[in-house]
């Protein structure tokens, strides 16, 4: 019995070590490790930037099993700032945000239940991503994964990837990623140079999905 223990212990240790190693390695492995630099830089993605004017959307938000619906307004102001306002169907306003020309952000109005830094920052980042607010004039380095081309826009902690086909003829999706994993994915259905007909925004680090459908008035 003793000899059996002595012989099994090393095997057991090896198994645990291997498992830990596997878990650790898989945990550290980035979901974007397989991106291959193309050596190219491009500004082609700028043509996909949604061109809002005054656009209303029916909106549904699913968070941890809770479903919330309402109407979302995007309005470009004379000074180029964009106002984003969310109301419910009955007309009660929940928030009114301003994305200024100089990339500042102002909260004009927010319901007290939503008035939390974490919620405001989350919504700010989501809207910035779908409006491609961080996209400037600077060319972005292009990476490749099979037939998809990733134009990478690094941020302080996260990177925004604008993913197109080979000829940059269509925007397949946008991803926001940490160093290791995808955090948010945005899909826009739009004609180039106009406001999107629909938007799907999925979070991957927690259970949240936002869907927008443009109102035909």
């Amino acid at each position: 019995m003793t000899s059996l223990k002595q012989t099994s212990r090393p095997r057991h240790r090896f198994f645990v070590a291997a498992l830990l190693c596997a878990v650790t390695l898989s945990g550290c492995r980035s979901a974007y490790d397989d991106l291959q630099p193309t050596g190219e830089q491009t500004t082609c993605i700028r043509k996909f930037k949604p061109a809002f004017r005054v656009d209303w959307y029916t909106t549904s938000v699913d968070v941890y099993g809770h479903h919330i619906s309402g109407l979302l307004l995007f309005k470009v102001m004379p000074d180029s700032a964009v106002r984003v306002v969310f109301t419910n169907e009955v007309g009660v306003t929940f928030f009114d945000f301003e994305f200024t020309k100089n990339d500042d952000f102002r909260v004009h109005q927010i319901n007290s239940q939503l008035d939390k830094k974490i919620v405001i920052n989350l919504l700010r980042k989501d809207f910035e991503l779908l409006m491609m607010r961080r996209l400037g004039n600077k060319p972005l380095p292009v990476f490749r994964r099979q037939n998809e081309f990733f134009d990478a826009l690094p941020g302080k902690r996260e990177t925004d990837y604008f993913i197109t086909d080979k000829d940059c003829a269509s925007l397949l999706r946008i991803e926001k990623a940490s160093k290791r994993k995808k955090m948010v994915e945005v899909k826009l259905v739009e004609e180039t140079g106009s406001a999107p007909d629909s938007v799907s925004l999925q979070h991957f680090t927690f259970d949240m999905h936002i869907a927008l459908k443009k109102l035909q008035r």
């Binding site: 479903h67 919330i68 309005k75 106002r83 419910n88 009955v90 007309g91 009114d96 004009h108 939503l114």
Partner: protein, 221 residues
């Protein structure tokens, strides 16, 4: 967990606001006008009497949401139904589809994506909603502790200015102004004025009182 609770409370509040705006339509006798009503006690009594006569309401409505600072508005249209004691159906048809049914303890909302069902008994705030609804149906909403009410009149009708007392309601509304016709005590419009200066004006048109309204309209399952 805090966020989940917050969202749940928000959802409840949205429904509360909706209910408040609709229950005023069900309380028939409300005032609108320019000079204060002299006999407030008499008005309240008449209000309650007329409210009790209403068994059902069927009406179209037009809703205009005004964003004051942005100088933007969105107009929607739909149908409203009420059937005594406590059944309400609000159906937005243009330019979006949205349905809200209140039937006793059950509340159902349905948009293009999903249907939500809520049991009033499961939440303290919903119990408050229920109480307000009963106040409306019984015509005692003018005595509600949730609002201070001022009543005005002219030769065409009445104006009720409802100012929230409750902090929750204050968060959403500065005042709610209700116009009612003198000829049949029916509500012609509800104006929900928000602290920001925005407002939502709901006008009821082609109202039919005490007509046949099918029970099927209030099914929650």
């Amino acid at each position: 967990m805090r966020r989940r609770n917050g969202i749940r409370i928000d959802f409840v509040r949205i429904l509360l606001m909706t209910l408040l705006s609709t229950c005023f339509l069900t309380s028939v006798a409300q005032y609108s006008g320019f000079k204060p009503v002299g006999d407030l006690v008499g008005f309240k009594k008449q209000f309650a009497t007329e409210a009790k006569k209403t068994q059902s309401i069927k009406s179209n409505f037009e809703q205009e949401k005004n964003l004051a600072l942005l100088q933007e508005k969105i107009v929607s249209q739909g149908k409203f139904y009420f059937k005594r004691e406590n059944r309400v159906r609000i159906e937005y048809l243009k330019p979006f589809q949205y349905l809200l049914i209140m039937n006793g303890d059950q509340i159902v909302t349905r948009d293009n994506q999903k249907e939500n069902k809520v049991n009033v008994k499961s939440n303290k705030l919903f119990q408050q909603v229920n109480r307000i609804m009963i106040d409306c149906v019984q015509g005692s909403i003018v005595d509600s502790k949730d609002f201070t009410v001022r009543v005005f009149e002219n030769d065409k009708g009445w104006l009720l200015e409802m100012t929230p007392v409750d902090k929750t309601l204050k968060d959403f509304f500065k005042t709610i102004v209700i116009h009612a016709d003198r000829k049949d005590y029916s509500v012609s419009s509800i104006d929900m004025q928000e602290p920001s200066g925005d407002n939502t004006l709901i006008k009821f048109v082609q109202k039919e009182v005490n007509v046949v309204v099918s029970d099927d309209l209030f099914k929650t399952n």
